[in-house]
Symmetry: C2
Subunit: 251 residues, 2 copies
């Protein structure tokens, strides 16, 4: 996992339900699959069908959902809309989270225009950048604010989540200022590990890291193919690229 900073503190007097991190990471996937099903008018799903739609095993899905409670009816399945509500509540999507995006470069533009945030209860309340040429420009119908006003913006809107989309060199400094201003969760797109005090969560998204991981497996596959060829076995490079297999996907 990419630095989940689990914490996993014992939690005080409330419900002692500690949901595993691996499960939490999958809940958004289930939620998306469920909403898609709901749009199609489906009102009940089995764990098997939902698992297929989400791309996981059915046993794993059932165990994940069991951590939320015993929603679901034996012999029938889960009621889609009810489950959507429960997962949304568990993830905290029933309340609005205020977000600022810092660094309006290529990626910052894309993030500001990305509809997926607003759809799920995240309100982007400000776009911040240091470059005077960018400040004042309108992006996604919102004016870009000077980075110098970071503290004021965070305090004024009660921002709790900061998105760092700056160059690597500026990331730690921006992060420190966000945290000092009161932000307690940071989503980091800069290719550097951010250091934060305890109690602050950081998640990292790194585009080139993902490509490099793919390259490793790609090289592995190539090496394996070459080794087989060297022995003389003629195994076709793409055996059974069966259209049947490709089409097998539900959908």
């Amino acid at each position: 996992m990419s630095t989940p900073r689990t914490a996993s503190f014992a939690l005080t007097g409330g419900g002692a339900r500690g949901i595993p991190d691996a499960t939490v990471a999958r809940l958004p996937v289930y939620l998306r699959a469920l909403t898609t099903l709901a749009e199609r008018g489906v009102d009940t799903v089995s764990s098997q069908a939902l698992a297929d739609a989400a791309g996981v095993g059915s046993a794993k899905l059932r165990k994940d959902l069991s951590h939320l409670g015993s929603y679901g009816t034996r012999g029938v399945g889960y009621e889609v809309e009810f489950l959507v509500h429960q997962i949304s509540r568990e993830l905290g999507l029933t309340q609005d989270w205020r977000v600022v995006i810092v660094g309006i470069g290529n990626l910052g533009h894309a993030l500001a225009n990305y509809g997926g945030f607003a759809q799920r209860g995240f309100s982007v309340v400000a776009l911040l950048d240091e470059d005077p040429d960018v400040v004042g420009e309108r992006v996604a119908g919102m004016p870009v604010t000077a980075a110098a006003d970071l503290e004021a913006v965070v305090a004024e809107h009660g921002v709790s989540i900061g998105v760092v989309a700056t160059p690597a060199a500026a990331a730690q400094d921006v992060c420190d200022r966000l945290v000092a201003a009161g932000v307690t969760s940071v989503l980091n797109f800069a290719p550097v590990p951010l250091h934060v005090p305890d109690g602050v969560d950081v998640r990292k998204v790194d585009l080139s890291t993902e490509l490099q991981i793919l390259a490793f497996h790609e090289q592995r596959k190539a090496a394996r193919g070459a080794a087989i060829a060297a022995v003389g076995r003629a195994e076709p490079d793409r055996p059974a690229r069966g259209t049947a297999l490709v089409k097998e996907v539900l959908r």
Copy 2:
């Protein structure tokens, strides 16, 4: 992780060095830290120093590196430049990987302009889009090609990695075509799980998923604070929000 689809088969006659997936996922992070150190003129690092720079524990780092071989000198540390070379080779970054980006929307633009790809041996050979208004436009100094030419482009350039940055509805279809054309690794930015035949790797990057995970922890922190203040207050269930959420989701 996000479903690494490891396979992890025993590997045929070659070196039986099976590097754990968790380790592979961290190698790019080490590589980045190392190149940063190299730029500063550092020529030797201890596991402790490198671990700090990479944001991991030193024991984990040593165990990770030990899977590559016994580079590193006891009492001294690791030679930076040598280690950069070894990790690059292991990740397959010493060769050029041809990449196509499909879907030149907000995110596709950002990806096309992102310099981190070319720096690490990834050549973006084509940008593809379905929209006639976008086709022909120049993005990052490269003309956008019609999506209809996907198969021709992949075959002509020997593309092995495809980046899917399309809307969710088109993602599976694009993926199928990429795979059929010969792509064996897919980096998926669309918020749907892609189904591919065996032998093809998929990695998923989902922006809103990450935010939702942060929201969960954020809520946890808030709930913990509130629990101290309030006592036996029953939480109103908020049923109205559910239906609104259901309708808005898929973009």
